[in-house]
């Protein structure tokens, strides 16, 4: 008797179409090795929370528990506590933003704000404009809502206004509906570049004229190294910009507290969507952060983080200059990332197994595109490894690049046609690589 076959998932045919990208991949499996101590991981975007003195946080936790436990451990408002929203206004003021605490919506990290904004604006097939490349976590959200992501070129000054005009014209001409422009103006993830002030103004003008909302994602803005970033785009446009902020990089990601600052009508929908998604953001985290902001020298702590990351940025740029002098890369003025461009013939995704074998991990550029581009690029993170480890990692990476070039030289003259690109743009690194 022939037994019926099994595919090990009786619900396989029941999943929503938007889950299409949710699958285990070879690249993701390789990232598992990055957690081993022998491996220098230049892949993840994890803040170096060890530089945060634990007593700063434990003192805040103790005070919250001794004075306000009943509220801190209870469900809270879907908008977030009034106290933390007032603090958030002060933080945003450092980047030129004036607003009302009423327009702040606290979320489970700014990642959830990104999800909520996409949820309330994007129907399947709607167009989202995003930089080329763009943040992998945002692309995952856009994909989940079945958005049509159209990348817009950027260069060392950030998003290119002319390319934005062209993209809008192209999409409009084919009848596409653009819902918003997603941009990371400061110390871009993954590109490491910062949008100049002149371009901020020009891009806002383009979007205003075209009736396109701007989603300004700014997790790294306060982590500048050499000079402060230009003021936020939201500082000069309070009707056409939704601004996203986060405590993940200036304090710690474990709290999972971020926020959106949105025009009034959008804010109302975000609060309702937030309640629908999680009932309320993390109460305990908000109380502890509020206490921390009240009592601790948080500005001094951000300065500590800045100094630490600056040293690591310098270590990475020096090592790249020393070990990979023929390649090109961006020189970030802040944030966590350097964007490396490989020799034309190299493929960052195909090269990753060799890198893991050499005990160094990176994120292939393909993770940052919705359309399969990025094989010629690598995102290198300098936020977590020590300067010594960064140096070792880059040295190993140079061996990998040279080994791969040697391999390809062996095949010079042969056409290196790829059979099929497995699921372009769905290289999904683990969650801690945002």
């Amino acid at each position: 008797m022939t037994m019926p076959g099994t595919n090990l998932d009786p619900w396989y045919d029941s999943y929503a179409a938007r889950t299409a990208g949710l699958s285990a991949s070879e690249v993701r499996a390789l990232f598992a090795v990055a957690s081993r101590p022998e491996v220098v991981s230049l892949a993840g975007g994890m803040p170096y929370v060890s530089a945060l003195p634990p007593e700063l946080v434990s003192g805040s936790i103790e005070r919250v528990l001794s004075s306000n436990a009943a509220m801190a451990l209870q469900y809270g408002s879907g908008q977030g506590t009034p106290a933390i929203r007032e603090h958030i206004l002060q933080i945003m003021a450092m980047e030129g933003i004036r607003g009302s605490a009423d327009d702040v919506v606290v979320t489970t990290g700014s990642q959830q704000a990104l999800d909520l904004v996409t949820r309330i604006f994007v129907d399947p097939g709607d167009v989202v404009l995003a930089e080329s490349p763009s943040y992998v976590g945002a692309l995952g959200v856009f994909r989940a809502y079945q958005a049509d992501v159209q990348h817009v070129a950027m260069n060392d000054e950030g998003l290119v206004p002319e390319a934005l005009r062209e993209a809008i014209a192209r999409v409009t001409a084919r009848g596409g509906r653009i819902k918003f422009l997603y941009t990371i103006p400061n110390f871009h993830n993954p590109a490491g570049v910062t949008l100049s002030w002149a371009r901020r103004v020009e891009i806002l003008e383009i979007c205003r004229e075209a009736g396109i909302l701007v989603l300004e994602d700014n997790p790294y803005g306060l982590l500048s190294f050499d000079q402060p970033a230009p003021h936020a785009m939201r500082s000069v446009d309070d009707e056409g910009v939704i601004y996203l902020g986060s405590f993940s990089k200036t304090l710690a990601p474990g709290f999972r507290v971020g926020w959106a600052l949105a025009p009034h009508a959008i804010r109302e929908k975000l609060i309702l969507a937030n309640e629908s998604a999680t009932l309320a953001p993390n109460s305990f985290g908000q109380f502890v952060i509020t206490e921390y902001l009240d009592q601790a020298d948080w500005r001094g702590q951000i300065a500590t983080f800045r100094d630490l990351y600056r040293e690591r940025r310098d270590a990475m740029l020096t090592a790249l200059g020393e070990y990979l002098p023929s390649l090109t890369w961006t020189r970030p003025d802040g944030g966590f990332f350097v964007w490396l461009t490989l020799p034309e013939e190299l493929d960052s995704k195909a090269m990753l197994p060799r890198a893991v074998k050499e005990l160094v991990a990176y994120t292939p550029g393909t993770a940052f595109y919705a359309d399969g581009q990025g094989r010629g690029n690598i995102r290198l993170s300098f936020c977590y490894p020590t300067p010594e480890a960064i140096r070792t990692g880059v040295e190993r990476l140079a061996r990998v690049v040279n080994g791969e070039l040697d391999l390809l030289r062996t095949f010079s003259g042969a056409r290196l046609t790829r059979a099929h690109d497995q699921r372009p743009g769905v290289v999904t690194p683990p969650p801690n690589t945002d």
């Binding site: 022939t2 037994m3 019926p4 076959g5 099994t6 595919n7 090990l8 998932d9 396989y12 699958s23 285990a24 991949s25 070879e26 993701r28 499996a29 390789l30 598992a32 090795v33 081993r36 101590p37 022998e38 491996v39 195909a350 090269m351 197994p353 060799r354 893991v356 074998k357 005990l359 791969e404 391999l407 390809l408 062996t410 095949f411 010079s412 003259g413 042969a414 056409r415 290196l416 046609t417 790829r418 059979a419 497995q422 699921r423």
Partner: protein
């Protein structure tokens, strides 16, 4: 521990191979199954402290569930032998033979098991002889369709099915990224099956063949590790003669290479019913989507009992 009844087991899983994630999942499954049998089981990710730990906290049995190099190439097994600790699975010497696919194929062939025509090429051979000449020669002697794979390694990483000659150079490059030697093998069209071979003391016997039908047509990494992407038939939809041929081929390979306890032999069964040997795993995947647990289940075995029996066998074999 009584004479052959172990009570403490150290499962080794993780490591720094490309198959770390798979290994960890296999290891946790083994831990759960053995724990449910009342054994005291610890899971360790091997690191610099492992050997000292095993010396000082000597378990009754070690179960290496380390996929990829060190776990399957015999190195770790050799160290366990040096430590004189009983362990589940094939010996270091046998594992080395199985780990190297061209070697395993040649030994299988000498024992009368069919295996697809193939050639093994090192990166150095391309470097010395020039890619153009080697590729031309390959095209003449080994026409498509071909399967290009790293000569060592598992989980289908770096494997490409080449249906079009144009794809051959890229497939070679992708395979060399994983291993300095590449096996180029004639693709056999037929039914893909995996046959587990189990020996808990009565000699090796073949488990029911598991037939593999991937949706994409290729049983690659994603088809292996995403539930729903592959349909499995256990036992395979083979006629009696073909099923017998598959079982015999699997046991022959297991015995020829001198394997112990548990292995998984991957075969293609062609239209004539011939079983073609592709490769053998001395450490078959034991995850929730792996083939050997599926075959054990189909054969009516209880996983925990089988795993406990294997741990006992490891102790007996050590004495």
């Amino acid at each position: 521990m009584s004479a052959s009844h172990p009570s403490t087991v150290t499962v080794l899983a993780g490591g720094i191979s490309h198959e770390r994630d798979v290994s960890l999942r296999s290891g946790r499954r083994v831990l759960d199954a053995l724990s449910a049998q009342g054994l005291s089981v610890e899971l360790r990710d091997p690191d610099a402290s492992l050997l000292a730990h095993l010396r000082e906290n000597r378990p009754d049995v070690v179960w290496p569930v380390l996929h990829g190099a060190s776990g399957e190439d015999g190195a770790l097994r050799g160290l366990l032998e040096a430590l004189d600790v009983p362990y589940v699975g094939s010996t270091a010497a046998a594992a080395r033979l199985a780990w190297d696919k061209p070697t395993a194929k040649e030994l299988a062939r000498r024992s009368g098991v069919a295996t697809p025509r193939s050639i093994t090429l090192s990166h150095d051979s391309f470097r010395e002889l020039g890619a153009a000449g080697v590729l031309d020669s390959l095209r003449d002697e080994h026409p498509v369709p071909l399967v290009v794979k790293p000569a060592r390694g598992g989980s289908a990483q770096g494997v490409t099915v080449v249906d079009d000659e144009e794809m051959l150079p890229r497939a070679m490059v992708d395979a060399y990224t994983y291993c300095s030697d590449v096996l180029v093998e004639q693709k056999i069209v037929g039914t893909e099956v995996a046959v587990g071979v189990l020996d808990t003391g009565d000699g090796p016997r073949a488990l029911p063949a598991v037939e593999i039908v991937p949706r994409s047509g290729v049983y690659g990494f994603e088809a292996r590790y995403n539930a729903g992407e592959t349909t499995f038939y256990t036992p395979a939809r083979l006629d009696d003669d073909a099923a017998r041929a598959a079982a015999e081929a699997a046991v022959t390979v297991h015995e020829t290479l001198g394997l112990r306890h548990l292995s998984r032999v991957d075969l293609m069964i062609d239209a004539a019913g011939t079983a073609w040997f592709l490769e053998v795993n001395v450490l078959p995947g034991l995850t929730e989507t792996s083939l050997v647990p599926m075959a054990l289940d189909a054969a009516g075995f209880e996983l925990g009992l089988v795993y406990a029996a294997l741990a006992e066998k490891a102790v007996r074999d050590h004495h």
